[in-house]
């Protein structure tokens, strides 16, 4: 097989400066969030959930994109697939991030209090699902499965760099077909367990899809940002406007998908007007949360919609870089809006909310630099690589 890429484009390392910054951010994040836990355990546990849900969506969104490429037989994304594979390498850290939470379940989840559940018919009827034992079992099961798939996809892809065996692609395609339904269940469980059960009386059958929309956006936006940065510093030569256009179009599509799902959830609850459903939105429409709600619509939909509407803006790497960071922030805001209202009494916003985000930024950069050191940046053994590099819309 001809290899159109020069060897130095395949193996790269992040500059030491970046790695140092990553460690500084990570340590700062640990210090901030640790201090937060000492001061206000409930608030910090909720912040921890925000960070956990964000990292979970980033990692599982990346695995999803890798699986989707195999399943759909996509060609254009092959030269950039490694970036998503690296981000999928965050998956083992997701359950680690939840470990402090497991000691604070009682601070955030009403349904862990035996007395409350006994005196509350709704919670009692849900207790066969919402109980600590089953919750932890689901948590372990979901992340075992996700990590297993994550490991298998990356291992096969890495092996192909050496063996150049096209059968490994076939194996990954079959794996992806199995993965998709498993992924749907796993992601729904994560969303229901960690976000929806914070206000355990509430239920929305579309909630898993809502989280999925944000998940794909997070995986896609993070990959886009890193791809554009790598392209700018010469890490990923050979990408064309056609590749960027495809990334931009996918981002645009999922921004619309998110808005569609978010509005569907709102419209049905608003129309039916049942007290056991509407209170969730009413909690997000008082004590200052109404401003956050409006901000979420603007940040998560209106701005990126118009910023990525035209054909040229989807091809412009600078615009894509800005918008992918913007969308990552929007997704963080989205999860903050899902989780934090259960703290009660206004919008909590201070240095305590910063700890987990900067911890995550540091973590992502550290993982990325490790992965870059040990792996090829381009899947040189993939049989579709040539076609991917000469991809034309």
């Amino acid at each position: 097989m001809s290899n159109p890429l020069p060897a130095e484009a395949v193996r790269k390392e992040l500059p030491a400066k970046v790695t140092r910054l990553a460690w500084i951010l990570f340590v700062l994040g640990v210090v901030f969030s640790g201090a937060g836990y000492l001061l206000d355990a409930k608030r910090s546990a909720l912040n921890n959930i925000v960070g956990f849900m964000f990292l979970a969506s980033l990692a599982s969104g990346s695995v999803f994109l890798v699986a989707l490429e195999y399943l759909a037989g996509a060609v254009w994304s092959v030269p950039m697939r490694r970036v998503s594979e690296f981000l999928a390498g965050l998956m083992p850290f997701v359950p680690l991030l939840a470990i402090p939470l497991l000691f604070h379940l009682r601070d955030v989840f009403q349904w862990t209090h035996a007395g409350t559940v006994a005196s509350d018919n709704v919670l009692a009827s849900k207790s066969s699902y919402l109980n600590v034992g089953f919750f932890i079992a689901r948590f372990i099961g979901v992340f075992l499965v996700l990590n297993l798939f994550c490991f298998l996809f990356t291992r096969n892809s890495k092996k192909q760099d050496v063996t150049r065996d096209p059968r490994l692609t076939t194996i990954n395609v079959r794996l992806a077909a199995v993965f998709m339904p498993v992924f749907a269940f796993a992601l729904t469980i994560v969303a229901v367990d960690w976000a929806m059960s914070l206000e355990a009386h509430w239920y929305s059958t579309i909630f898993g899809v809502y989280y999925f929309a944000g998940t794909v956006l997070a995986g896609l936006a993070a990959a886009t940002y890193i791809i554009v940065r790598f392209h700018e510093s010469g890490f990923l030569p050979g990408l064309r406007r056609d590749h960027f256009y495809s990334l931009g179009a996918l981002l645009f599509a999922f921004i619309n998908f998110w808005a569609y799902i978010a509005f569907s959830q709102f419209l049905l609850i608003w129309y039916a007007n049942l007290p056991e459903e509407t209170f969730w939105f009413l909690n997000r429409w008082r004590d200052g949360w109404e401003y956050v709600s409006i901000l979420l619509i603007i940040v998560h939909f209106v701005v990126p919609y118009f910023a990525l509407l035209t054909q040229d803006s989807k091809m412009d790497p600078k615009r894509l870089k800005l918008m992918s960071l913007w969308i990552l922030f929007a997704h963080l805001l989205d999860i903050y809006w899902l989780v934090m209202p259960s703290y009660g009494g206004g919008v909590p916003l201070s240095w305590m909310e910063i700890g987990f985000p900067i911890l995550l930024v540091g973590l992502v950069m550290i993982v990325l630099s490790f992965k870059l050191k040990r792996n090829n940046l381009v899947p040189i053994g993939d049989p579709k690589l040539d076609r991917g590099l000469s991809f034309r819309l």
Partner: protein
């Protein structure tokens, strides 16, 4: 085949890169009236052909906004002006309910009208075809080849030079395309049997599909599950009850909400002696009485209670209510007639509420006084 004058010279290419290069070269050579046909949109073609940005997008935007305004405007008019209806206790004008409809109408008008505009602009409606249609060239560029056609009306057109240029670019199957004799006269294409046949076929398919879905499909399982529910409807038999009748009479001794006993059934004189009109002839009560009188009484007794409705001569004549007998009746007597009926007149007890009966009586009194006004009434 009736061959008319030359329309264009065409050439085929195998890859998108080749066609982009060909378009660049053709436009560099100074040709302006040429077109490129590809099986799918090739990105970068507009730059290669040095095209200005298409104005079609502006049309789409206008049509889309038109759709939004139409939908929101229509729903606003319906919910605020034409048919105010309380739905789910919500305000009349509720934007969340409008969003899906406004969205659909926006997409519908934008897409359909854009397609219509394309037909009008590019085919020069009422002509609905193009010389390139139905040619071997078009068959190939709509499957896996990339084609270019340089038109004969280009100012620089010279057949030999064009063929030479296309050959030098690596074009294959360089061929001329001619106008059909009928393609020249625009109007006739509209009555092309093929086109009309397609229209008729579409109509048959659409109406057939609609008939099938609404009259057959919805009565098949599982689509019938919404209507065929395991419950008793009016007039249905049931094995559950001993007598096999699904409809159950109310429990003995049940009375309606707001029930009042009426002991004067069939005794109008007694009613006249004992009942007193509980209402006062205020303008509101008279207006109510007038409305009910015009609905229920006037069809027989006439708009002014003269017994002169259009039923005269077709039935036993409805009596006037200005007779001395009725004028001298106490209110209770009239009430009894409305409630129980009299001669041919049926009972109106189930149609007119008690209050409305009394209001009607007050209105009849007003009519009677108007027909038999005294001198003092004019002062």
């Amino acid at each position: 085949m009736n061959e008319g004058p030359l329309h264009s010279i065409t050439a085929l290419f195998d890859t998108p890169d080749e066609i982009i290069r060909a378009a660049e070269e053709v436009s560099r050579a100074g040709y302006t009236r040429y077109d490129v046909n590809t099986p799918y949109p090739v990105r970068g073609m507009d730059k290669a052909m040095r095209l200005r940005q298409s104005r079609l997008g502006i049309f789409t935007l206008i049509f889309g906004l038109l759709g939004t305004i139409t939908a929101v405007g229509f729903m606003t008019w319906v919910t605020l002006v034409d048919y105010r209806l309380v739905i789910g206790g919500k305000p009349f004008w509720t934007w969340p309910a409008f969003v899906p409809i406004a969205f659909e109408v926006t997409v519908l008008l934008a897409s359909v009208l854009t397609a219509v505009t394309m037909i009008v602009l590019y085919f020069k409606f009422p002509n609905i075809s193009h010389p390139l249609h139905d040619t071997p060239y078009m068959k190939q560029v709509s499957s896996d080849k990339f084609g270019i056609s340089i038109q004969a009306n280009d100012p620089k057109f010279d057949e030999a030079a064009v063929r030479q240029l296309l050959r030098s670019l690596g074009g294959k199957e360089i061929a001329p395309i001619y106008f059909d004799a009928e393609g020249l006269s625009h109007g006739q294409r509209l009555f092309d049997p093929k086109f009309l046949g397609a229209l008729v076929l579409t109509a048959i398919v659409v109406s057939g599909a609609t008939y099938f879905s609404f009259n057959k499909l919805l009565f098949m399982q599982p689509f019938s599950w919404m209507s065929e529910q395991n419950k008793l409807k009016a007039q249905m038999p049931s094995d559950f009850f001993k007598d096999g009748i699904g409809m159950r009479p109310p429990v003995e001794g049940t009375v309606d909400r707001g029930f009042l006993p009426y002991p004067f059934k069939g005794k109008p004189e007694e009613a006249g002696r004992n009942l007193v009109n509980p209402l006062l002839p205020t303008p509101a009560v008279l207006a109510r009485g007038k409305a009910k009188f015009l609905t229920f009484c006037s069809p027989c007794h006439g708009n002014f209670a003269r017994g002169d409705s259009r039923l005269q001569g077709q039935f036993p004549n409805p009596p006037t209510l200005h007779s001395d007998k009725v004028r001298n009746w106490p209110d209770g007597n009239i009430y009894s007639v409305i409630t129980d009926g009299q001669n041919v007149m049926p009972s109106y007890a189930s149609q007119i509420s008690r209050e409305d009966r009394w209001a009607i009586i007050l209105y009849i009194r007003a009519l009677q006084r108007a027909q038999n006004a005294k001198e003092s009434d004019f002062k």
